[in-house]
Symmetry: C2
Subunit: 318 residues, 2 copies
């Protein structure tokens, strides 16, 4: 079975680990969000791709969900001693090596998809990890701070400001000119199932869908497309998705997110059992909805969610 | 007193520390060799400038004479895990930060001289440290390995091969097109004394002199130019200077090195007491020669050498 998964960072990575346990024989292609990418210290950092790679490759810091295990911070501390920031983005020494290799390969002319493949040669994540695009896309957020309206990089909004101010707009800068990376449209066209893990619907899955051609390819693939709600009990399971949902005028509820994706894209939608009351509303929107536990407390729980998603896919296919 | 010193790496840096003790009130400008510079992992590494900066700024690994104290090697070990080399060049985590800052500033368009000044803002070496040139100069060495003649980067010859094969030629690639960095010619023209520390006469001081205009400016400065022999007892005090001296047809003796610089450049020359017998030969070459202890066993010994060099400068000035 060929499965395509559109993934952001932590939520996507943990769901993928469950999917691997639930469907060990499946051929999984991950289309990773690159809108969170940022240039720091002259290096290209791809937080979402790395979170997927480290998580599936056994190198992730399990407690925080991103970055490397057994990490040290000598480089960052030295950069600070030089007065070179930002200090709010926590790059560790092990992680720096990834960005150094990536930047060196990009400078040598390799596209990000080839670089990602080379990095995965080491990590062997057990999936084919593709960036959504080889073109630069950077999600920016419009905010008002101290009475001044400004547009900042998503990471500055998310990591430095901890989404503490309203996101007035979320713009995936460059997305409209970006092309899907090599293999992305082919993977979608030959997929048996397409899954949206409980990643952020705006700045993760939404950014991937903003690359011209990807949304259309999914809609036209003619295979079940099933998503899992990142909103449980009217709040994000983790992170601050409510803040960016507000920016696009979507309520932070499991049903509203399903309607935001829409029945033109989604065939099935899983909500948490606490949101069982919202099932009829999603069904009415033309999306087959089920309520199952959606808390990824461990790999087994994530595997159960993946099984439920695959079962729902078979149900809507029939 | 304004002193200009042409410096390579370890020998130059340790001599400079002695000079600071010997002449604490002096205004010292260091013209640093950049021919040893190398791009590693996409980063610009300037070993000689950094050795001077770390040594005078209190950050040097005293035992090995280069690199940072209390160093760790997480980044290097991770790069190796990615299969990315070279592994023979020992960059530590703290050191990496320097190269990351430098590379980021160079990429932003700052010349190496401005970058070096910015790095020195942190280290406060107590001297004005100028790269010999803002233009890229890379010393290459022609060797024959396994019957095959090839040209390799100086660092590969020095660090990877440990100068274990004959250097058939030493070429400061790019030097003939390079211009002295801003401030270099001005510092020479306004110097009261110019010193050549016991740095490598071929690949350190020789490379600096290969930048058009610098040799001429020193010869025309009209102030005492005094050097200290890096050869003691017919062998290099440290390193493998004999190998690169052979490449330029110069014997590894204190007298031969003095004659290599020549009386058109040098006014005074210090040899070690074990080489006292060579004093007349150097004198005959038109260079005033003295024999004094030249082993930099500690800062006090280096300070004594600096005092002897300054005394010799006053003697030749008179």
């Amino acid at each position: 079975m060929r499965i395509v998964v559109l993934a952001g960072g932590i939520g996507g990575a943990r769901f993928l680990r469950g999917l691997q346990q639930a469907a060990p024989e499946a051929d999984v292609t991950v289309i990773g969000n690159t809108g969170d990418d940022i240039h720091l210290f002259g290096l290209k950092v791809c937080p979402d791709l790395d979170t997927v790679m480290y998580t599936l490759g056994g190198g992730i810091n399990e407690d925080q969900g991103w970055g490397r295990q057994d990490e040290t911070f000598q480089v960052k501390s030295e950069l600070a001693a030089y007065g070179v920031g930002p200090e709010w983005f926590g790059l560790g020494d092990r992680d720096f090596a990834t960005h150094i290799v990536r930047t060196q390969m990009l400078s040598a002319g390799y596209p990000l998809s080839a670089v990602t493949e080379a990095l995965c040669d080491r990590w062997k994540p057990g999936v084919r990890l593709l960036p959504m695009s080889d073109d630069r896309v950077e999600t920016h957020v419009a905010v008002t701070v101290d009475g001044e309206r400004k547009v900042i990089h998503f990471q500055e909004y998310w990591v430095r400001l901890r989404a503490s101010v309203a996101a007035e707009a979320v713009v995936p800068v460059g997305a409209d000119q970006a092309e899907p990376a090599p293999g992305v449209l082919e993977a979608i066209a030959s997929a048996d199932v397409i899954l949206f893990p409980p990643s952020n619907p705006v700045v993760s899955v939404g950014t991937i869908l903003a690359v011209p051609g990807i949304r259309e390819a999914i809609a036209e693939a003619g295979v079940p497309v099933v998503g899992l709600s990142p909103i449980v009990g009217d709040a994000p399971v983790r992170g601050m998705a409510d803040k960016v949902l507000a920016a696009v005028g979507v309520e932070a509820t499991a049903a509203a997110v399903a309607r935001h994706y829409g029945s033109g894209l989604l065939d099935g939608w899983l909500v948490d059992t606490v949101d069982e009351a919202s099932v009829p509303a999603v069904d009415e929107a033309g999306i087959v909805c089920k309520a199952v536990p959606l808390m990824m407390t461990d790999v087994d729980a994530a595997a159960e969610m993946a099984r439920a998603a695959l079962a729902l896919a078979e149900e809507v296919r029939a």
